[in-house]
Symmetry: C4
């Protein structure tokens, strides 16, 4: 089994999850048209959560894509670990919707929403780390085994990401909006990081 159909299926799930985010944005219901602008403005937590989740899923796709260009063979654990990753990616629209609904009201609701959001992102990150760990465990699945220090540095970056997501859980309890901004900053950081690594690396 080559990686072609695995990548196609994964691409499908990434593309659908990223596009489904929009259905959490519902037109507001207002009684008089003059209130629509304000009501649309009040949806800002939804736009913010859409943006952060969109960029995060997009970056995970980029990363997934980059890794699989190096994979030449697929074994059973890889299939399961990939399915496990997709399980968390496909779930992201749910915590995104919870954040959209509860961030603005502040208090316990916003805190709980951001903890949920951060936990799902943490688990998606762990799933990605496990997948990456399996692929780079030895040279069997790879086109050409990368130098040990490249693997080590990539693993360090995964751990850095996990540490930030753990921090985000704590921050969620204090300042939920900051926690969401932290997720956004991480996504942008990874996006530029991904985009500047030489593609063959």
């Amino acid at each position: 089994m080559t990686t072609t159909r695995l990548e196609a299926f994964s691409d499908g799930v990434f593309a659908i999850a990223i596009t489904l985010l929009v259905i959490e944005l519902r037109p507001p219901e207002v009684e008089r048209g003059s209130e629509l602008a304000g009501a649309l403005w009040d949806l800002w937590p939804g736009y913010f959560a859409y943006l952060v989740s969109f960029v995060t899923i997009g970056v995970m796709w980029l990363n997934h894509h980059r890794i699989f260009t190096q994979v030449r063979a697929v074994d059973g654990p890889l299939l399961l670990l990939n399915l496990h990753l997709l399980l968390w990616v496909a779930l992201i629209p749910f915590p995104t919707a919870v954040v959209a609904d509860y961030l603005a009201e502040g208090g316990d609701g916003a805190r709980t929403a951001l903890v949920l959001y951060s936990v799902v992102f943490l688990l998606a990150g762990v799933a990605f780390g496990l997948l990456f760990g399996w692929i780079t465990r030895d040279a069997r699945l790879l086109e050409r085994p990368p130098p040990a220090e490249v693997v080590r540095s990539a693993r360090l970056r995964f751990m850095f990401g996990q540490a930030v997501y753990l921090t985000a859980i704590v921050v969620s309890l204090i300042a939920p909006v900051v926690a969401l901004a932290l997720h956004g900053a991480m996504a942008v950081y990874y996006a530029f990081d991904q985009a500047t690594v030489p593609v063959g690396a």
Copy 2:
């Protein structure tokens, strides 16, 4: 007609069905933010059903994928039997949503929900069995005909699956949560089974 576009279309339906599962998970509506954590917790049947359905569709995709690596030609009945399978796969988000809504309340509602869920899984399994039966009926559609005992053992495993799904229908009437757990156990069993069969087999 080669299998390429048939596989692409099937991959699309599998990927969409598996990702649409998440839209059955709706943010709970609570009056005070302090109740959100509890309300999220109360959605556990939704998470449980999401998990079981996700793994089941994922495993069916793996299995579909594995089988079609051996298929070299497509005939009319194969097209129809594949469409018939996709009809049941694409339907899975519906019984999943019914289980998410009615499992927690127990009683007749939970029993009915799990019977529906088990029946749809049984029919998806039967559809898969028919497709597999047609493909392995003789050597016409296959890359290289597998040894008779491999086909026989695969058919036995399909029948074992059907027997478990039939059992799940009965268990649904007694202990709906156990029936859902049984579906989950089946999915995990098949996942590891799929993942450990040598890929060329």
Copy 3:
């Protein structure tokens, strides 16, 4: 421009439209669990409409697939006519939902729902006919021009389909359930027709 990416995009729209049909099936809301079985039963127009729309979109995909195996070049009108077809295919979940909501109550509601459903199917059929007509207009876009009588017979079958859809509009005004059954019969007829035409034809 070859047909590869056009087919991939079209496959995506067909696969998504066919899978989105399920989101029109919503779990019923009942007060006591003992009423769930009856409420699920009452959704039969939804199941019926899901089945007919699923088979119809599936058959249109098969037909689209078959035609494009013969197309070797893409020109501007082909792109537009294909987009026009997809516009109607992607719309099908809407009349399907209207039928699911209004068939059971009978009377004017059911009649109106089935007229809408039949009109959308008629227009999708017309869109398919225009696409097919353009492709077979001359030999420029085709791998090898089919014999004139094959084209003529295919066009006759398109017209036959249009005539049935027109009939369905009339029948909708008298017996809406029969009109839906007529659509189902057409889909099954085309499915077997598609499946028995030699694949290279």
Copy 4:
């Protein structure tokens, strides 16, 4: 990294966004079946917005497709600019739904809805312009660098599009229906423009 998987992912997002438009069309809820026809008729802003958004996304896909046939290499900024474009494309179902809900009532509601719609289209257009600008910045990413006047004329057409979208924002404040029609006219204009440019151009 070649463009294959980037195009596949983008195709997926385009295909899903275009097909998700339909879920904004909900069956109307009427008390007596005899009112269904009128209620369906009252959904005309939904149909109109569906049509305009569908054609616009379709044309953006055509354009995206055409441009990428000339791209031979992918670099980091291209990945990010493409993701940025997809972010706006995937958002389109949201303003489409707002227009569907508020166009008919006229007044401030309709004006606000159309301003939102026009702004999202403008930003999607800007995103497309940035992507196109990056690709044609020099010859590094291109199969064969197009003549300077072709690039200049294409850029002029992008700017023309932006100017029309800016105009549409102003028109939205005066006559929202006309603004939506203007978007529709733009989409049709681009559709025929796309369809008549020689494919290799």
